[in-house]
Symmetry: D4
Subunit: 248 residues, 8 copies
Amino acid sequence: MNSNDLKFLLESVKNGVVDIDEAMENLADLPFKDLGFAKIDNHRELRVGYPEVIYCEGKTIDQVVKIIEFMLTKNSNILGTRANKEMYLAVKEICPEAIYNDLSRTIVIKKHEIQKPDTYIAIVTAGTSDLPVAEEASVTAEILGNNVITISDVGVAGIHRLFDRLDIIRGAKVVIVAAGMEGALASVLGGLVDKPVIAVPTSIGYGANFGGLSALLAMLNSCASGVSVVNIDNGFGAGYLASMINKL
Amino acid sequence: MNSNDLKFLLESVKNGVVDIDEAMENLADLPFKDLGFAKIDNHRELRVGYPEVIYCEGKTIDQVVKIIEFMLTKNSNILGTRANKEMYLAVKEICPEAIYNDLSRTIVIKKHEIQKPDTYIAIVTAGTSDLPVAEEASVTAEILGNNVITISDVGVAGIHRLFDRLDIIRGAKVVIVAAGMEGALASVLGGLVDKPVIAVPTSIGYGANFGGLSALLAMLNSCASGVSVVNIDNGFGAGYLASMINKL
Amino acid sequence: MNSNDLKFLLESVKNGVVDIDEAMENLADLPFKDLGFAKIDNHRELRVGYPEVIYCEGKTIDQVVKIIEFMLTKNSNILGTRANKEMYLAVKEICPEAIYNDLSRTIVIKKHEIQKPDTYIAIVTAGTSDLPVAEEASVTAEILGNNVITISDVGVAGIHRLFDRLDIIRGAKVVIVAAGMEGALASVLGGLVDKPVIAVPTSIGYGANFGGLSALLAMLNSCASGVSVVNIDNGFGAGYLASMINKL
Amino acid sequence: MNSNDLKFLLESVKNGVVDIDEAMENLADLPFKDLGFAKIDNHRELRVGYPEVIYCEGKTIDQVVKIIEFMLTKNSNILGTRANKEMYLAVKEICPEAIYNDLSRTIVIKKHEIQKPDTYIAIVTAGTSDLPVAEEASVTAEILGNNVITISDVGVAGIHRLFDRLDIIRGAKVVIVAAGMEGALASVLGGLVDKPVIAVPTSIGYGANFGGLSALLAMLNSCASGVSVVNIDNGFGAGYLASMINKL
Amino acid sequence: MNSNDLKFLLESVKNGVVDIDEAMENLADLPFKDLGFAKIDNHRELRVGYPEVIYCEGKTIDQVVKIIEFMLTKNSNILGTRANKEMYLAVKEICPEAIYNDLSRTIVIKKHEIQKPDTYIAIVTAGTSDLPVAEEASVTAEILGNNVITISDVGVAGIHRLFDRLDIIRGAKVVIVAAGMEGALASVLGGLVDKPVIAVPTSIGYGANFGGLSALLAMLNSCASGVSVVNIDNGFGAGYLASMINKL
Amino acid sequence: MNSNDLKFLLESVKNGVVDIDEAMENLADLPFKDLGFAKIDNHRELRVGYPEVIYCEGKTIDQVVKIIEFMLTKNSNILGTRANKEMYLAVKEICPEAIYNDLSRTIVIKKHEIQKPDTYIAIVTAGTSDLPVAEEASVTAEILGNNVITISDVGVAGIHRLFDRLDIIRGAKVVIVAAGMEGALASVLGGLVDKPVIAVPTSIGYGANFGGLSALLAMLNSCASGVSVVNIDNGFGAGYLASMINKL
Amino acid sequence: MNSNDLKFLLESVKNGVVDIDEAMENLADLPFKDLGFAKIDNHRELRVGYPEVIYCEGKTIDQVVKIIEFMLTKNSNILGTRANKEMYLAVKEICPEAIYNDLSRTIVIKKHEIQKPDTYIAIVTAGTSDLPVAEEASVTAEILGNNVITISDVGVAGIHRLFDRLDIIRGAKVVIVAAGMEGALASVLGGLVDKPVIAVPTSIGYGANFGGLSALLAMLNSCASGVSVVNIDNGFGAGYLASMINKL
Amino acid sequence: MNSNDLKFLLESVKNGVVDIDEAMENLADLPFKDLGFAKIDNHRELRVGYPEVIYCEGKTIDQVVKIIEFMLTKNSNILGTRANKEMYLAVKEICPEAIYNDLSRTIVIKKHEIQKPDTYIAIVTAGTSDLPVAEEASVTAEILGNNVITISDVGVAGIHRLFDRLDIIRGAKVVIVAAGMEGALASVLGGLVDKPVIAVPTSIGYGANFGGLSALLAMLNSCASGVSVVNIDNGFGAGYLASMINKL
């Protein structure tokens, strides 16, 4: 809406062509960023079933419970990430249908079903120890309304295990790879599949892995095209982005 | 196909139950990885018009010319990245329709048109100095068959410039953000658009930007969901991935 | 005391106008830096009500108590930072009016009121988890005699929340921004307000935030003018500097 | 302006109490961020004489000339930083009154005088080699309308040089310290003056200075209160912030 | 084997010129990578007595027990690295002959003897504190079927201790050096022995050893030829590689 | 030789049982480290044909020529690494049979043939740009007396290229892998071959490869066993170590 | 002793000019490094009273007790560094005169007095929190036989405290400075005293001190001459070196 | 000048024994730190022959000439470090007796001889490439009045070369070690000599030496006592400190 549009709208209000409520709705649809964003956000949630998300780490049990209590009033699905068991037990008291996942350390409260596209997201891990990160991605993608297939422990040290499962990976619309240590699986997969690959470096390893730096740098320098990277151990971010792409 | 399956197939060939062509097709469907991959690669190029790509940096002019000479026999489109003017002049002698882009330092040889989807890719830069990286992404996405709109110089120091162009960014199917220094634009855009955001940290800046590290870390730690990151100054990688997503 | 002053003093000694003891005292008051500084320091405290400050981390409970015991004899206000609850309980026994703030981990003992300027300091946080650092800044600025307004959880992932509170931020004389992860809020605010912005990177985040390094580098590389940076999690330093500026 | 205000305004338009131009002006004064910011920016420049600033590094001579050509139409003062001599010579052709400073590598075009406050900014350098950074700060602060006093080569290796000039430093409203190597001067000054100290780490040094990292970390970890830090070699940023504080 | 070969083989099967077993053997010799690797792996284990290895760190006791339970069905030797005592006690219940080594934190289950070559591996440590890493290497090399001689505490601070044992080190076919701090022993030994030296940087030290980085960089930059490096504290990797070389 | 041995030897000299020359030879064989090492070094060179090696980088042309002039008097083979063309031209004047290799930047002077073992060393590169490093390894291994087979451009982005050449790699006694960017080829090969793999990270790449750090960390963290690492771009070191292992 | 000397000696033995014992003594005086070093070491200890030193960190209580038990048989003074209280209590049972210092975490067993030179070592700390490191230096220097004066809490934030004590510092033969955070005290002192300054960076601080890196880099880049640096928190190393210099 | 001296001076003024000008001159001679330091510096130079030192890097030829021109008026010896040939040629025009050293890149102007102590400084280098740094140390120590013996190319890769020269190194009062790459020579020497060892890491090497970081960290983590470290390539600093110690 440019100045002319605005002038025309105001003239229409003056002339009675447009009534005040309609004008207000129109103005709310414009760059009233502060109000506007919130509204769009709300719309989006209602339409696609986006859950409310809380990052629980560094919050007190009390804070987590209060935030969820408020969210419950909005009747949306809820996802709590990096939550410990104590947080869950406290949440369960105000919401018995809350479900805790030990591996991914997530709390999920599902108020309504979300329509899922037919396509699926493949989540691939290099080793068993990368599973917690993969599971966080999986829980996130599922609560956002996606079918997910997880293929674990197909790291490059025994690359035949990967080839065994290549068809199912290639069938996905988007692929998440969680790998620690040297993170080579992202590049290998990037060269084998013709789909967007979201690489999640994990902090798995020791010594010169420097808390996930080795996998992070490896993935950023991937010689394969179509690979992008999220933060170390950021399963949630990978799942969220994969969902976005899967629903395009 | 395990040993038993294989034995049964060979017996069927012997018995004439299965003829040789059918058997060959069957065997070709298995994990003949070495041959298989190459074949698929070829198919893919023919089908979707993928160009041949050469990363020219660190190659001699002679090497670049010879590689392109060979590529020209395959009649596919060709993209040379990180090429200098001398390389281009040498290439032009064997291929007069080659086009050089000073800003992105790319050589493009277009042998045939590629069908483009109706959707478009938005490429957003924080500052004028990020344009070379953005242009590399743009040239890449275009030769891969995409409509691209570039919005430049909308960095967060004057955020109203961004809001001005928000509608056109939100209209894209996927967004590329190229930003150096503190790379904040990626997070801000990630919070404003509901599309996959591919963040390209650039090496623009000085001092404690440590060659792009500041923007890289900022983008990896983005508090906004839906943001993933490629290597510093990797316009090609961003353009390639954006094309993949735009064509889903 | 310049050369002329010195000459005059010596002449006064010669003439007997000033006796030797007085002259010695005078000379001791001059550029005898060691004594001089201390004196100025004391004056400053009396005049502007500067509190005594102890950084408690790494000190034993016993040491903290003894230091505060000594400070109490000087009747000035006292601020203990990075104090744990045990320290507080021990301090409370010798000074029942000591107040502990769980969030900022500060001990405050207020012996007299400090006159506050009419202007105020705005403290802005990107997320709820940055509150402890913000609170340390707030407690510091208040005991130094300032009005403080804290606006929390207005990070760039949902930038409309920030615009909602922009007027109050713009009304401040100086702004503190506490943000972790990618620390983008500092640059965004730096572009929106025409006041000195003190950026405090926090260690909030995980993985490639490397203990606050991501926010630190982002803030140092801010493309917005008027932004300067203090150490990671250094709420005290930000509050102290903001007070200095607010009282100019 | 909240919903009620908006409703009331529209009703006033309808009733003819407020005419359309007035209503448009009112709406433009609200959170129409995109328009609003630009306007405020313009106002600010007119009122306080803020110059237009171009960071020339990484731009072509042609780009620099074109940007300045456009700026000249607005009749404001102009500051170009990190400009080389060639840029200057090209600028001089379209604007003969442009002045180049070899040391600070700045281009200055002064169209009108700016009223300066009575207070001054002290710029202190540890060594002669830090002068280019100090000079960039100085030129910036002056074109922004400030009195500046530069005290150079008073590094801590011969601390008596500093004490000699302490009075003049203490007389400033805000102090900029530019130091490379171990950057100790910032902490020493921070302990000696009761004014905001803006520390600029410089890249002066070699070996384990890692391009200015040593001074940067030292300054961030300053044990003295009242010290904040800008990017390595960022004389402009320090000058800009000092001007902001000097004009409070 | 290309398509023609394959066609000819199948025709031969059909014609009875080649019988099915022969055909299967032929096909098995080709790039049936997925099956092939596993097969070779199995053969290798049977032939050379390679143990099954589990990296226990980051696994639950339950996971470790289940994996070992499965391994036991294959009757091969088993090596568990980075195992804690609790893991061992749980394993012992299902396999009483399991042996735990406190120093190396390994679980070993030896089902059959492995023939050892006459040559031996020398494992040399700089200090007593490097012994856990050396012991992990030693246990690994032994379960893989090698004679091992460990020479400890011969670091360069008292280099005469090293010369005393030089003959026994020179007699080995391959040498492992485990050293922390400045890791100088690797270079010194590399200059004194004419055998491959596998350097294991350890995390022993403090301060600027940055968790083993000092020894790692020192070893990578060794001025002596014949030295290669594995990850910090990676005794297992060194032992495995030494075994490979010792058996060449 | 302990004290008793020494006493007995001296008594034998006294008694004329052992003559002086024999005694001197005996004493020279003992821990006369200073003399002894040199002697052994000389012996080794004569026996196995080890060349003299000069690292030319950072030396003047004059220094290089003088060192080689001296070496020529000893009639051994000579290898100069990291030599530029100018150095070579100067060397050629005093030794016309010197050969320069543009790719590896080596000068080779072959005075006599060296007996080669039947086994061979495989040198594998991820990309064409890694060839200079591979060639340095190759030239080194050859002048040390080894058969070498180089397989280039088989990086993981198109892993089928690797499988195509796997047999020839597996046939080697020891494998060198030169790879830049994410260095994933080392891990993939480590999982596919049952031979020692010497990984050479190269500085090929840009941005977050940080001069070879990405490949270095990846290789150090390889999840495949049997992989060890030498310095970034250290083709010489890899070739030397491979020769050692190939000759065991 | 060169070949001629050796030949002459053997001939003298043969001729009876030199007897065997004398010859053996002569040979023992040569580069019999292994024996020789030990001998010299022993001599040194007896002569100057050097204590036996154990670095206790990372050793078990049992190991510490056994090592000290053995040392006690040699009747030398003993210094255990980085020892915890449990270690001390166990040591005390076998050696009741052992003394524990809580601050420096040292165990000292003094069997005999050491003659001290008249000069003294000054140990200066920036803050109270640096005292444990300073105390380790102090205890080390004292058991090695030196007079030590410790001046604490004279950091540069209040530089007058330092000037107050400058005379006593200048009177020392060698100065140790222990400082964390920005470590500026080392440079300031280096400029004020004309004696060797041994700088010990401490890990005191938080955030961007990165475990002592800030002080370490600052001290290495000191603009003052005469300053050298030991490892972070290495009080022992500083005390040992200071003793060496003090006794020159 | 203590209190008594001051009292006496003032009494003398009062009595007319000392006139005012003389008293002022006297007071200027005392602990008036600012003036005082400079004066003491002058005294020191006259007494011990300390040269004036200029760090030429980063200065213009003109600046260097002007500074030296001024220094020449004071008739002291002059040392210019990190000077290039052009600087020297310009200096030579105003001072024909200036001497340039190509290796160390120093300009030396010797106005008078300095008395040297009988003891000497040993400067030891690991390789030929470390010579420039060693030479800077040597030139510095000599102009400061010391006897220096340089022992070069005795790195640990051929440790017998070191033992050959050990006696001469042990005979020194203080030892400087210049080594790049892994810097192991510092630790080895630290274990072999009973004198202060000043370690200078050099930037010699490539790849993971990270500009001298590898040698720096190695030297800081030296397991040998008596070793301290100066900045990378800081030959001047080592020579200056060695001179201080040699003259104790």
